[in-house]
């Protein structure tokens, strides 16, 4: 129990952000027309590629002769940025097609 209280007080800021971000995510997505579900899923998918920043940090913080970290970091960056660039590009391509004719 003391451990839990200690944990909460140590990470209070992160817990606040976590809870608020969960609500923002829910509110932002609520009541979205089904027309946009596919582009939205694809856009959110691109956004989850934000993990690429972690992979870049891994590479920046590696010792120059730590080939294990550099190699895994490299693959992480490649995979993460595929997720980001591919995701946004394909979402853009889909949305390009939604047009109203007059």
């Amino acid at each position: 129990m003391n451990g839990l209280i200690q944990f909460i007080s140590d990470n209070l800021q992160i817990i606040y952000i976590l809870i608020l971000a969960i609500f923002v995510g829910v509110e932002v997505i609520k009541n979205i027309p089904a027309v946009l579900h596919t582009p939205l899923m694809s856009g959110a998918n691109a956004l989850s590629g934000v993990v690429v920043i972690g992979a870049i940090l891994v590479m920046l913080q590696s010792d120059p002769d730590d080939y294990f970290s550099l190699a895994l970091g490299f693959i992480g960056v490649v995979l993460g940025i595929i997720n980001v660039v591919g995701g946004f590009a394909v979402t853009g391509r889909m949305l390009q097609m939604f047009k109203k004719k007059n």
């Binding site: 979205i32 089904a34 989850s48 993990v51 891994v58 970290s69 939604f98």
Partner: protein, 459 residues
């Protein structure tokens, strides 16, 4: 962390929220995508350039080439993909994101792990990342047809769930004992990969969109966990946004199919056995030909088109648009009725029709169009089956009982285009086809619609 980096991360975070918000409205969606993408570019650039570490040049070159290589591959895939293959691609990209999260965890574990908070984030990042990676790959394989088997081992779900509990126990053990052996972390990685496969393998094709959406949400959570590890706000907020938005989207999809999330994950819908009611005598069907069907539509006041995935498989989106324009010219009121799960993921049909320049104001959602069927002269069902099956309303023994459907049966006349009398994706008979108001127009959707168009042109 320098204050300029924090400010840039703050701007990027706002861009993510704003972008996601704007993605939710047809008129602003394009801008939303651009805003989110710019926020991402900003955050990535700032991460590389703003820090006070001494970085040897060759590491910069490595990072730069990794970014270029990945961007080229991702961009190429995004340009090349056919719109019918969209769900596969999203699944594939999502798997890559998960793999990236798992790799980061591996590296961080090999360095010194200081406290339990760090160990928890690293271990959960690896497990969630591994599950999303292998799960997404299986989903990808199932969607493109290279993995066909629906596994049916007795007690499959029990074994699966026990395995999952074992992973959790293993993870808790690793964190609480402060174990730092590399073998343990590779064990956890392997267990996560295996669970991802076991988790997705038994799930039926019809439920696959829900799984992709769920895995998408999980990748977001993996990213957020990595954000906690580095105390990196943009990763934390970005990841959580995707995580919570993904869950909402997943639930919305489940509602569209009248399935609970639990039933998708723990149940076995898949539908390989013959279903109750299949041997019931349903009467006889009436066949028609393109010329009679064309006459019916030509003299109708209103026509509703119900497109299904079969339309996309036959690449008939353009022909159906031509048909719709032709009928509109002749003064017929034409609309498309879009079921929430038409296609292979929610909204997929809208994308496919938009690709062939159909005005999106003609695409009417289920709740809005259902009351109009009874005043409609002709409904044309193309390549759709389960979404117009009246069994969802009146056969409690049917697996789709309770699923919201398009009430096509209420129209005055129904034309159903199908290739054969085979059952639909859920493997259930459809009594709509045996309705006295229904006529069947057999044939490939593209050929049949092309014939319809040429008949109409001659009238």
């Amino acid at each position: 962390m320098s204050i300029s980096l924090s400010i840039i991360y703050l701007i990027a975070t706002i861009a993510f929220i704003l972008g996601l918000k704007k993605l939710g409205h047809p008129a602003t969606a394009k801008n939303g995508n651009l805003i989110a993408a710019s926020g991402m570019a900003l955050a990535i650039a700032a991460t590389i350039f703003i820090h006070d570490l001494q970085i040897p040049t060759f590491i910069y070159i490595l990072i730069g080439s990794a970014l270029l290589l990945g961007s080229a591959i991702g961009g190429w895939m995004a340009v090349k993909v056919k719109m019918t293959k969209m769900p596969e691609l999203v699944s594939l990209f999502n798997g890559f994101g998960g793999a990236s999260a798992a790799l980061i965890g591996l590296v961080e574990f090999s360095k010194n792990v200081d406290d339990k908070m760090q160990a928890t984030t690293i271990v959960s990042g690896i497990i969630i990342g591994a599950i999303t990676f292998s799960g997404s790959m299986i989903a990808w394989g199932k969607l493109n047809g290279s993995i066909k088997s629906v596994v049916s081992i007795p007690k499959y779900n029990t074994i699966n769930n026990l395995f999952f509990l074992a992973i959790i126990a293993f993870a808790v053990f690793t964190v609480s004992t402060g174990a730092s052996d590399q073998a343990i972390i590779f064990g956890l990685l392997g267990a996560g990969l295996v669970y991802g496969i076991l988790f997705v393998l038994p799930i039926g094709g019809a439920d696959m969109p829900v799984v992709i959406s769920l895995l998408n949400s999980l990748t977001g959570i993996a990213a957020a966990i990595t954000g906690i590890l580095y105390s990196n706000m943009v990763m934390l907020v970005g990841g959580i946004l995707v995580g919570s938005a993904g869950i909402i989207l997943t639930i919305a999809m489940c509602k569209g199919m009248n399935r609970t999330l639990g039933a998708v994950i723990f149940g076995t819908f898949g539908g390989t056995d013959s279903v109750a009611g299949a041997d019931k005598r349903l009467g006889s069907i009436k066949k028609t030909n393109p010329s009679d069907a064309a006459i019916m539509m030509n003299y109708a006041n209103s026509v509703i088109i119900v497109p299904g995935y079969g339309l996309a498989v036959a690449q008939a989106q353009h022909v159906i648009h031509e048909l719709e324009e032709l009928l509109t010219e002749k003064g017929v009121d034409v609309k498309y009725a879009i079921h929430p799960v038409a296609g292979r993921m929610p909204g997929h049909m809208n994308v496919l029709l938009a690709e062939s320049n159909v005005d999106y104001s003609l695409l009417v959602e289920m709740e809005d169009i259902n009351s109009h069927f009874k005043n409609t002269d002709v409904v044309l069902v193309v390549g759709a089956n389960d979404v117009v099956n009246p069994a969802a309303h009146n056969d409690p023994s049917s697996p789709i009982y309770g699923m919201p459907i398009l009430d096509a049966e209420n129209a005055k006349h129904i034309i159903v285009n199908k290739r054969t009398m085979n059952a639909g994706y859920a493997g259930i008979e459809n009594e709509l086809f045996y309705n006295s108001k229904t006529v069947m127009l057999f044939g490939d959707a593209k050929d049949a619609l092309t014939d319809l168009v040429s008949e109409l042109k001659n009238m």
